[in-house]
């Protein structure tokens, strides 16, 4: 039977002042499984941990119970010290005697001491059933797949190819560019969007590391971080790819405001995108234009601000003014959203050019007059409290970006979560651009509507995050942890006890469990690379065939049994 060493920390009187540590030491030493029990001033100091470490070596104790501060205090650091000394993590138990006992029970020293004894006994009981998970290491395929060749996807492809990784760039359409192909200029630089995309497209075309696929349909994605197997069909036929990381840059689409402001029924009521198309072909001088903001956005169905519509309207309004300084341009808005120094300056520039702004309320939207074509717009100005008649011959509706229709399918295939509107969601707020699925990153408007500048930034960010994974030769399942240190563990199945009911496969939030035929019956299998050790499968298993070795049901049972052992220290 392996012996346990009990190390108790005084924390310079912080613990000692409430809990009677010497009585605790004597009481724990009575236990036959305890090799020795010692009290030191502070386990987190190097001078003090030397003595217990040499005692552990001498006595041959294999397991250690530490009674010190909480894991968020110095507890984890003490555990790390012991791990460095060669004691396996699963053989170390940390008992929180300071935050969880001494500091909250200052007025009840007897109760606190009894509690401390129980907590130590609980941990000792649990340690006898705790094991470490088996690790598995896979080779990382140093290639990346980027879904979508818009500004985000292109910048990610450029960044990754610069770092020397092979990139498969998939595009739904026929060429790179994404939404920038549809617009004439980009804000806030007022640069031609063709020029902006050209630089990136050239790099992508010339670099032999980037292979571009057009008219792509993704048929299936299988695998895990470091080794995804993707089946696609493109203009060159079907192809199977093996990639280490996936970057989702599939963008979003423009919502069309059918049913609002007589769009589609009245001539010269157009969307912002149609205006862009007009500018892209050949600008027609416009004399009187009215822009209406927040069409179908910031309402009950889409309570979000799509962030790009205000600057786009400012851009096009200023452009009309540039071409025809005598033009009358109004922007009817609910709030002008131009955060940051650059966009605010952009707003001021439009203001200086003579674009006029009128604020209206959601409950009292402007009305478009005219029978065959637009004759004017009637709007209730909330600032001066009067109804205004605006003479105009063109109405431009600013509509928000909405998620692509195939987002749900893509999310299902990749195991990525979507937010309530349908955009892909990242791990907010600590891990931007990362999804819950290791090795899958998101950027650009697939994540949230963004301007081309921001999409490019996010693309590079996602590329660097992917490169951190692709740069490794091999990756182990336990290292796929988003917190410092290793992953807690992963579930393992006792194939003999498994009845193949499939409960675990049904509840697994990461699709790590699945049923597999084995010797004529179904048996659950856990993919260690996907498992995140949440323990859902453990809780639903009817006969305990699936277990987390670090958190065995027998360990929990032992803890419950010892929690209130009726024994007091006198």
């Amino acid at each position: 039977m392996s012996k346990v060493a009990v190390l108790l920390c005084r924390c310079f009187g912080e613990v000692d002042g409430v809990i009677d540590l010497d009585a605790l030491r004597k009481k724990t030493e009575e236990d036959v499984s305890v090799a020795f029990s010692c009290v030191v001033d502070s386990l987190c100091l190097e001078v003090d941990i030397e003595k217990p470490l040499s005692l552990i070596r001498e006595s041959g104790a294999e397991k250690v119970v530490i009674g010190s501060c909480s894991s968020l205090g110095k507890g984890d650091a003490v555990v790390e010290t012991l791990v460095r000394e060669g004691i396996h993590r699963s053989r170390i138990g940390l008992v929180d005697l300071r935050e969880g006992c001494a500091w909250i029970h200052r007025d009840d020293p007897q109760g606190a001491t009894d509690k401390a004894l129980n907590l130590i006994r609980m941990e000792m009981g649990a340690l006898s059933y705790r094991h470490g998970s088996d690790d598995v290491t896979i080779r990382v395929c140093p290639e990346a797949m980027i879904v979508g060749a818009g500004p985000a996807g292109l910048s990610a492809a450029c960044a990754l190819s610069r770092l020397g990784f092979k990139v498969h760039l998939l595009e739904r359409g026929s060429g790179p560019g994404g939404m920038l192909n549809l617009i004439s200029h980009v804000y806030p630089s007022d640069e031609k969007s063709g020029d902006k995309i050209k630089k990136y497209s050239e790099i992508v075309e010339k670099n032999p590391l980037v292979s571009f696929y057009s008219k792509v349909k993704i048929l299936s994605v299988k695998g895990f971080a470091g080794d995804f197997k993707v089946h696609i069909s493109s203009s060159e036929g079907e192809k199977k790819l093996r990639v280490g990381a996936v970057i989702l840059a599939s963008g979003a689409r423009v919502w069309l405001p059918y049913g609002l402001y007589r769009y589609g029924k009245l001539k010269h009521v157009i969307t912002q995108m149609e205006m862009e198309r007009q500018f892209l072909r050949e600008p027609v001088p416009i004399k009187k234009a009215v822009f209406i903001q927040c069409v179908g956005a910031r309402n009950k169905d889409r309570p979000y601000c799509a962030t790009i519509c205000c600057p786009s309207s400012l851009k096009n309004a200023a452009r009309i003014k540039d071409e025809n300084p005598d033009a009358r341009v109004f922007i009817l808005h609910r709030d002008i959203m131009t955060p940051g120094s650059v966009l605010e300056a952009y707003y001021r520039k439009a203001l200086a050019k003579g674009v006029q702004f009128i604020r209206f309320e959601e409950t009292n939207p402007p009305e478009i007059l005219g029978d065959e074509h637009v004759e004017g717009v009637e709007v209730f100005d909330v600032i001066n409290g009067r109804k205004r008649m605006l003479d105009c011959d063109l109405v431009v509706l600013s509509t928000p970006l909405v998620p692509n229709d195939d987002n749900a399918k893509l999310a299902d295939m990749l195991g990525v979560e979507r937010d309530r509107y349908g955009f892909f969601s990242e791990i907010y707020p600590l891990h931007p651009l990362e999804t819950r699925m290791d090795g899958v990153f998101i950027c650009g408007s697939a994540r949230w509507p963004v301007s081309s500048d921001q999409a490019i930034m996010q693309g590079e960010g996602a590329a660097v995050k992917a490169a951190a994974l692709l740069g490794k030769d091999a990756v182990s399942a336990l290292s796929l942890s988003r917190v410092p240190g290793e992953k807690f563990g992963h579930a393992s199945v006792n194939a003999e006890a498994c009845t193949g009911c499939g409960n675990c496969a049904a509840v697994c939030p990461f699709e790590a469990c699945r049923l597999q035929k084995m010797g004529g019956r179904s048996v659950s299998r856990v993919n260690k690379m996907r498992c995140k050790a949440c323990g859902n499968c453990v809780s639903v298993c009817p006969n305990g065939a699936i277990q987390l070795p670090e958190h065995d049901y027998r360990a929990v049972g032992a803890m419950i049994k010892k929690a209130f052992a009726e024994e007091t220290i006198s």
């Binding site: 909480s70 894991s71 968020l72 935050e99 500091w103 949440c534 419950i560 209130f564």
Partner: protein, 149 residues
């Protein structure tokens, strides 16, 4: 552990200080526990914390086992719904444990003996409030007698 032979006095004493077992999620409840300790908020000594990686690791069997062994109440502290590190794991846990509550009601142990706090014990004072309130609630309930173990 005392069996059926223990005196009635003893049971009244227990009722005054109910025994509580807390399963605290490492990413929420345990942070609250740590904060409460750092703020030195006084709490009754008769509760024990079992840290778990996620609230979904709390097996319904473990709750039943705890209640059967004479523990008066079990609290499960997890992250707020939608804020789980493990996709929807805490959603599943909540559904499962809510179901267990009705089950406990049906068998006469009482669903009140199981406290589910998802996202309400993340901060120090919140944690202390949850523990104290549950403690008061348990005091009003009759003490449990162990019949297993």
């Amino acid at each position: 552990m005392t069996g059926p032979g223990r005196s009635n006095n003893r049971r009244t004493e227990e009722q005054a200080t109910p025994r509580m077992l807390v399963f605290a999620c490492k990413w929420c409840g345990l942070i609250g526990a740590d904060g409460a300790g750092k703020k030195r908020i006084p709490l009754p000594a008769s509760f024990r914390v079992i840290p778990v990686e996620c609230a979904s690791l709390v097996e319904p069997d473990a709750v039943i086992r705890a209640l059967a062994s004479g523990i008066s109440g079990v609290a499960v502290l997890g992250c707020h719904l939608g804020g789980c590190r493990f996709n929807h794991a805490n959603h599943a846990a909540m559904k499962r444990l809510e179901l267990l509550k009705t089950l406990l009601d049906a068998v006469g142990i009482g669903g009140k003996r199981l406290l589910l706090a998802f996202g309400t014990a993340h901060e120090d004072h919140q944690y202390a409030e949850v523990i104290n309130a549950f403690f008061e609630e348990l005091k009003a309930l009759p003490s449990t007698a162990p019949w297993m173990y």
